[in-house]
């Protein structure tokens, strides 16, 4: 029985031509493992999460009931606007600040000052350390009792008394933004330095000979040349920060009194501390719609700028 089976298999094998699959079939076969992962870990969970917006569903209990738009209405009537405001403050702050710092450093380190090469390397350190390490470090810097930030600012006469930066609603968001800025600016610097190096030196020289000053040349030559890469880094940084989780969660957990809560931490909290999947899904749905809308508006806007 066994042997006859192997025999037929071998027989069949020898009859088929050496290439059983067409090129197209082979190409699709190569895609399968990756596509399966993307479908299972990104696509299905995303769709399923958005669908839970329309159900009353708990993380720990089985079963769910269709409730239509109830979750979405509840979220919109709740603290949605506050969440949106805080998310925008965090996202814009952590996009603009690193951009300004990264651009300034890129310009400074693109000159021939001594040590520019070493500094380019050293400046990458904040970008290399894991997100939790960034959080630990800034948690220690902002420590209310022994923090070096208090000592520094008191020494400079900026503040009179030590502040609990991460525990006061008025200062927590600023502190979190500063920590995230510290992590992000090196990437901006690297990208913009790479962009600066594509600006032909001949243009600058020609303009200089025609009497254009440093500032004039920056706006007339450097900036137009960098338009593409500036648009790209701002868009990517915006998308990333709009969904940033780690640093906020470890530094403040969204507190104090929800002052640093963003969509990312709010969705996580609602699902994994409140066990309310329906509400978390509703928040997530609104979050994704907003992100898509903002990206579309941005792309349209920058395309229009291009046409001009």
């Amino acid at each position: 029985m066994m042997s006859s089976q192997t025999h037929t298999l071998e027989h069949r094998k020898s009859q088929t031509p050496p290439r059983r699959l067409s090129d197209g079939q082979f190409a699709v076969l190569l895609l399968l493992p990756g596509v399966a992962l993307l479908a299972g870990v990104v696509l299905y969970p995303l769709v399923a999460a958005l669908v839970t917006a329309f159900f009353e569903q708990s993380l720990v209990l089985p079963g769910r009931t269709f409730v239509g738009l109830q979750n979405i209405v509840e979220v919109l009537q709740g603290d949605f606007l506050r969440l949106l405001g805080q998310t925008m403050v965090f996202t814009l702050g952590t996009t603009i600040l690193p951009f300004v710092i990264g651009f300034a450093l890129a310009l400074a380190l693109n000159t021939k000052i001594r040590g520019a090469k070493v500094l380019r390397g050293l400046m990458l350190i904040p970008w290399l350390v894991p997100g939790v390490v960034v959080s630990f470090l800034w948690m220690w810097i902002f420590n209310a009792n022994y923090g070096v930030m208090n000592a520094l600012l008191q020494g400079l006469g900026v503040i009179d008394d030590p502040q609990a930066w991460l525990a006061q609603p008025g200062t927590a968001m600023g502190a979190v933004i500063l920590a995230k800025t510290w992590q992000s600016f090196p990437w901006m610097m690297v990208m913009l330095l790479a962009g600066l190096q594509t600006v032909p030196g001949e243009l600058h020289e020609a303009a200089e000979m025609d009497g254009a000053g440093t500032v004039r040349r920056f706006f007339a030559i450097t900036l137009p040349h960098l338009k593409g890469i500036v648009g790209l880094v701002l868009l990517l940084e915006f998308i990333w920060n709009f969904q940033h989780f780690d640093i906020i969660y470890v530094l403040t957990g969204g507190g104090p009194a929800g002052a640093t809560q963003t969509f990312a931490t709010a969705v996580y909290e609602t699902a994994f501390h409140g066990f309310d999947l329906g509400r978390a899904g509703a928040l997530g749905l609104l979050w994704m719609v907003l992100l898509m809308a903002l990206v579309v508006v941005y792309v349209r806007f920058s395309e229009k700028g291009e046409e001009r």
Binding site: K112, V132, I141, G228
Partner: protein, 312 residues
């Protein structure tokens, strides 16, 4: 400035973009260098001021991380803090070495990150090869879909991913972490490897086919060895992705299977008084593999990340 009248020795390369002063010949390279070596004093002062202020913002926290890790435990709770530790000590590192729980997290981190790296290289090599060397309908759309998959917020994916892994009894396993991490490395690794495969001439693949090598054999014994630097770069990137992750390991794994980032949070944060020197020492230890990986990767990663962006 007498060089202005000098005629250029070399003709302008045709590829030089010249939207400004088009038709003006490019100055010879020798002169350009000398002009750049002497920055104007105003420019130099501005450059130095920028470096001092923003460079300080970048590097002082790094110094503070190092200094705290070397501060004796009884000196760390002092206000104002000492900017230079009085009696630097390696006690904090010694105390880490005797912490068994941390070694558990470390082992988990190494296992998960290494398997992620290997799996990610395999999956993205096949996918990247398919994108690079075959032409079929939907290829470009799929490529951009892979790239776009990193746009979706992980906190949102997690709320149902948790239930998915729970349904297959995969919560608190290495499998759940490895599958998640591998997926999130795909956008970068697939695109990076596709770029590497694009540089391998099609004639080489054709020649091997004419010689009778099977398509899988061509991939494994001709294409992959030629793309070895790319595979290493992709593998290191995937390793770092697994090593640095926080939210997936925090949510999908319990203490026995958790990696270092959530492990450190659980160990040090939320206690009545955090052991700052130990936490800073642990932070240094966690950051070390990433720094080493980056130094090894630098050539591929920064070039690869910026090349496409700058051109586009």
């Amino acid at each position: 400035m007498s060089a202005t009248t000098q005629l250029p020795a070399t003709p302008t390369p045709p590829s030089t973009p010249a939207p400004y002063g088009a038709g003006r010949p490019a100055a010879p390279v020798r002169r350009r260098r000398s002009a750049l070596r002497s920055e104007r004093p105003g420019v130099r002062i501005a450059a130095w001021a920028t470096v001092v202020v923003f460079g300080g913002f970048g590097l002082l926290p790094v110094y503070w991380l190092l200094a705290t890790a070397l501060t004796p435990r009884n000196q760390v709770f002092a206000y104002p803090p000492r900017f230079f530790p009085a009696a630097p000590t390696l006690d904090a590192f010694a105390s880490l070495a005797s912490n068994d729980a941390l070694f558990g997290y470390l082992r988990n981190s190494v296992i998960v990150s290494v398997i992620t790296a290997v799996l990610s290289v395999l999956v993205s090599a096949y996918m990247g090869y398919s994108f690079s060397k075959f032409r079929y309908r939907g290829r470009r759309s799929l490529m951009y879909l892979v790239l776009a998959s990193q746009m979706f917020p992980q906190a949102l994916l997690l709320i149902t991913l948790y239930s998915v892994f729970s349904a297959y009894n995969l919560l608190n396993t290495y499998t759940a972490l490895v599958l998640s991490f591998t997926t999130f490395t795909l956008p970068l690794c697939v695109w990076m490897l596709k770029g590497f495969f694009d540089t391998i001439p099609d004639e080489l693949v054709e020649a091997a086919r004419v010689d009778g090598a099977s398509r899988l054999r061509i991939i494994h014994s001709i294409v992959l060895p030629l793309a070895a630097p790319g595979l290493i770069a992709a593998g290191l990137f995937a390793f770092v992705r697994g090593w640095n992750d926080f939210v997936f390991a925090l949510t999908l794994a319990g203490p026995e299977k958790q990696t270092l980032p959530p492990g450190l949070v659980n160990t040090f944060i939320g206690e009545a008084s955090t052991a700052w020197p130990e936490l800073m020492a642990a932070s240094l230890v966690v950051s070390l593999p990433v720094a080493i990986a980056f130094i090894a990767l630098q050539k591929y990663l920064v070039g690869g990340l910026t090349a496409g962006a700058v051109k586009g």
